[in-house]
């Protein structure tokens, strides 16, 4: 017919016939009862498609010639459009179709089994009819109804579930919808429906979930509920501001716990315990971030900033961390494998990095190291050196050069002793054995050098050493640090008990006096030894008032030392050990006055550092305004301590007074460098 120029007639005939036919079909479908509606629709659709295919084949010529040149809709498409207009959009079918579909989905959501294959076909039909049909006739409404559904459900759940359960349910629903899409919906709907679920079930209730009593985020953190936390992370990740919410709550909880930890008076009594708690807390959160928060960097950063915040709330943190290290290096790491030693030291370094006042740590570390070295009480030289290397990597050569100097001194002293004994071998046969450590003044913590009266045998020996040393090192000055030495004494008590006593040098001086006197008063001891009174009192207390170590007897038996107290050798002294240790050269938490003194020394040390920084900056900038100097100086000194703006100002003024800087004559806020 087309060839005979009757294309138009054919076409319109087609349209008309098909329309009528479809209208008939529609009526049949409308008549279908209840559940059969969809099946009927499906069946008719399949029929239509088959017919459409045949028609297209038959009218292929028209499809290719008449239709394009006359801009008519191609046959197949025409067939679909007519179906759409006459069946799907027929007033009785359109609404019913939508309602049926939504009803079925609702049933499935409440646990009933539905005919998924049928659903798939119907939905596919809508998709075939065009994405706008799918969206307008189904998807749009589907999303709205789903939103209502989930809004209501989430409201119910949140009233009766705890956080963990709720999240489980939310996760389940989410997975359900994803499955639904893959089984019978257009894949493009996935993001849209998951967004609905996320919004209704998660985003709307985010804060309530996180802060839920007894089961919220904080509880999960405290109880290490990795699974629940992981679920929360994965769900919240999907909604805007979800992860920041978790992060913020975690941060404030961590800061609060940390703050309590560092201000807990009980914990502060034992520095080692204190630091161990900090390490435990860090381990705990590292694990949580690893297992539940998939090592998210932003969470790591939140963890770091929280630790930095609360560690520095307690000004004694640097001291305590050094004491912790001291304990480990003195005995804690005994018998521990090299690998584990490294792990512990690395953890300590991590805490060190959080410190703002690194220079305070340095001061204490030096003190404690000195005590360890001098008392020979270090578990492993390798461990000591390993830590120094770590500190050097972190802070630079300057930080550790003095510490390394201390080690060198120890080694050199050993060599010196060998030389001394080699040179004097003959003379020294009978004398007590002397071990001297020669310390270079600049490297070791400063001590006031006080000498006391050594027993005659010792002082003669010391003089020999002095002349030997100065013989090989002219131009040096030696001063004996009697407050830092130790001595081993062999003692025989009244009933013949033999013991070896390990005591401090001061204690030795006191005890040796009793070789030539039975009774000595405090005054007499003080005069004979010339030991400073506070040290002497402490020394006598440790010799006479401590159970199990009371090699001396005191009258009266009180704990404090009075000027008139008398001392005797305790003939009844007993100890189950042959070697008795009475010395007190171990590193301890400082007393209040000692702490003040150290703090003062640190403050004094900071002044030249601040000035050096100011001069360095001004030398290169020549002219700079006040606020910028403060900022730059603070930045330069950051790796050692937090510089106080008031102190910086003071130093600037001092430099002005000494003509290193001047103020600009017109702009008071500018400083100039004076060459």
């Amino acid at each position: 017919m087309v060839l005979h120029k009757f294309g138009e007639k054919l076409y319109s005939g087609l349209v008309g016939t098909m329309t009528l036919h479809l209208q008939e079909m529609a009526k049949t479908i409308e008549a279908a009862q209840g559940n059969l509606f969809l099946e009927e629709l499906n069946r008719k659709w399949n029929d239509h498609n088959k017919a459409l295919q045949m028609i297209r084949d038959i009218l292929m010529y028209m499809d290719r010639t008449f239709i394009p040149s006359n801009r008519k809709t191609p046959v197949h498409e025409l067939g679909l459009n007519l179906w759409r207009d006459n069946v799907i959009h027929s007033s009785k079918i359109q609404t019913r179709l939508l309602d049926t579909l939504l009803e079925l989905i609702q049933k499935e959501r409440t646990g009933e089994i539905i005919n998924r294959g049928l659903m798939r076909n119907i939905i596919k039909m809508l998709m075939d009819l065009g994405s706008s049909v799918y969206q307008e006739d189904f998807e749009k409404h589907f999303l709205e109804v789903s939103a209502d559904f989930y809004r209501a459900e989430s409201q119910d759940f949140i009233e009766c579930c705890d956080c963990g359960d709720y999240l489980k349910k939310a996760e389940r629903r989410l997975n359900e919808e994803i499955e639904r899409v893959s089984l019978y919906l257009d894949s493009k709907s996935e993001t849209k429906i998951t967004n609905v679920v996320e919004k209704e079930m998660i985003a709307s209730h985010m804060l309530r979930l996180v802060h839920m009593d007894n089961s919220g985020l904080v509880n999960m953190l405290i109880d290490d509920k990795y699974e629940d936390l992981g679920r929360m992370y994965n769900l919240f990740r999907r909604v805007p501001n979800g992860l920041p919410t978790i992060r913020d709550v975690m941060t404030s909880h961590l800061r609060e716990t940390g703050k309590q930890l560092v201000t807990d008076a009980e914990k502060l009594k034992d520095p080692v315990e204190f630091v161990q708690c900090l390490l435990n807390e860090k381990d705990k959160y590292d694990k949580i971030i690893n297992l539940a928060f998939s090592n998210d960097k932003t969470f790591q950063n939140a963890l770091n900033s929280s630790f930095e915040y609360f560690i520095n709330l307690n000004p004694r943190s640097p001291e305590f961390i050094s004491l912790f290290v001291d304990e480990k290096l003195r005995k804690g790491l005994k018998g521990v494998s090299e690998e584990d030693v490294e792990t512990i030291l690395d953890k300590v370094m991590m805490l060190f990095r959080y410190l703002q006042e690194k220079d305070v740590f340095e001061k204490y570390y030096k003190q404690h190291l000195a005590k360890r070295l001098l008392s020979g009480k270090t578990v492993s030289d390798d461990a000591e050196r390993s830590l120094i290397v770590k500190l050097k990597t972190e802070c630079g050569y300057q930080f550790t050069s003095k510490l390394e100097g201390m080690f060198t001194d120890m080694k050199t002293s050993q060599d010196t002793m060998q030389g001394f004994y080699a040179a004097y071998a003959a003379e020294l046969g009978d004398s007590p054995t002397l071990v001297v450590q020669v310390l270079t003044t600049g490297s070791w913590p400063t001590q006031p050098s006080i000498t006391c009266n050594l027993p005659a045998e010792m002082s003669a020996l010391c003089e020999k050493f002095r002349s030997y040393y100065l013989g090989t090192h002219t131009g040096r000055r030696l001063s004996w640090q009697t407050n830092m030495g130790t001595a081993d004494l062999k003692a025989i008590f009244g009933k013949g008990q033999k013991h070896e006593l390990n005591v401090s040098t001061y204690q030795m001086c006191v005890l040796m006096l009793f070789n030539s006197a039975d009774r000595l008063s405090y005054k007499e001891i003080e005069q004979a030894t010339e030991i400073p009174s506070s040290d002497l009192r402490r020394c006598l207390q440790s010799l006479a008032c401590v159970k199990g170590k009371n090699v001396l007897r005191k009258e009266p038996m009180s704990k404090d030392i009075g000027e008139e107290d008398a001392f005797f050798v305790n003939d009844k002294f007993a100890s189950k050990f042959y070697k008795v240790k009475i010395g007190t050269v171990v590193a301890q938490k400082e007393s209040e006055p000692e702490k003040q003194e150290t703090r003062q020394r640190v403050e004094e040390d900071r002044k030249p550092q601040i000035e050096a920084a100011i001069v360095r900056i001004m030398k290169s900038r020549r002219v700079l305004d006040h606020n910028n100097i403060i900022a730059e100086v603070t930045k330069q000194l950051q790796s050692r301590f937090l510089a106080n703006p008031g102190e910086i100002k003071k130093r600037i003024e001092s430099l002005i007074e000494r003509d290193f800087l001047e103020r600009d004559s017109s702009d008071r806020r500018l400083y100039r460098y004076l060459a």
Binding site: D625, H626, N627, G646, E653, E657, R663, R668
Partner: protein, 232 residues
């Protein structure tokens, strides 16, 4: 004092150019004669107070001068006179300084000098001169060799003398503060200068526009804190 004079070299000179200009006229012998007559008067004026063995006017001489001027020797106008002379040493006037000062004031007798004092006061309080006078006053108090600071007591007296008339309230409070605090025992040049700026720029006593983050001397930061704590 060599150090003091080198400092002076770096200062912008804004005083006493007048002296020369008025005398630069035609080099006629008549004017030269007039010049030398004035010089003679000035010199003999000098002689009446000079300490002959020293060759300059000493504290006693200055006291006598004050008596004749009917001005107390602690009066600020004497300090102003010293400033005009650019006198270097407190309590002494050299002949050169005397000549310089009196020439600048265009006076050669005691009565003329007395009359000129009120003009001198006005001149000093002009903004372009006052800063210079204020700093001069501080330097004038550095009596010892290499002295850089003035003790608190003297500083308070000086502040009262020099700034009192202009900034009575600030001076009163500040001197009270200085005497009560223990941290600073002396005032240095920088702090001295800062205080003047403080009086000139900061509204008092509310201290509204004071910002301690700015480059004010620490002593002033502390002063402001003290003021605020007294107010509350």
């Amino acid at each position: 004092m060599p150090r003091a004079s080198s400092k002076r070299k770096s200062r912008p000179l804004n005083s006493a150019p007048a002296a020369k200009s008025s005398r630069v006229d035609s080099s006629s012998s008549a004017s030269r004669k007039a010049l030398s007559k004035v010089r003679q008067l000035v010199d003999s004026f000098f002689e009446s107070y000079v300490n002959k063995s020293l060759g300059m006017i000493d504290p006693e001489g200055i006291e006598a001068l004050c008596l004749d001027l009917q001005v107390d020797h602690t009066d600020v106008r004497i300090l102003m006179l010293a400033w005009k002379m650019k006198a270097e040493k407190q309590g002494y006037f050299t002949q050169e300084e005397w000549r310089r000062g009196l020439d600048a004031l265009k006076v050669d007798t005691i009565s003329k000098l007395k009359k000129s004092l009120s003009n001198l006061e006005k001149e000093v309080s002009k903004p372009e001169n006052f800063d210079d006078f204020y700093m001069y006053a501080f330097r004038y108090c550095l009596t010892e060799e290499k002295q850089k600071c003035v003790d608190i007591e003297s500083a308070c007296v000086l502040l009262d003398l020099v700034l009192g008339p202009k900034y009575r309230s600030q001076v009163e409070y500040f001197t009270k503060y200085l005497k009560s605090q223990k941290e600073y025992k002396v005032i240095n040049k920088d702090q001295w200068l800062n205080f003047l700026r403080f009086c000139q720029e900061i509204s008092f006593p509310d201290l509204e526009n004071y910002d301690s983050d700015q480059a004010w001397s620490l002593i002033l930061d502390n002063f402001v804190e003290w003021m605020k704590s007294k107010a509350s």
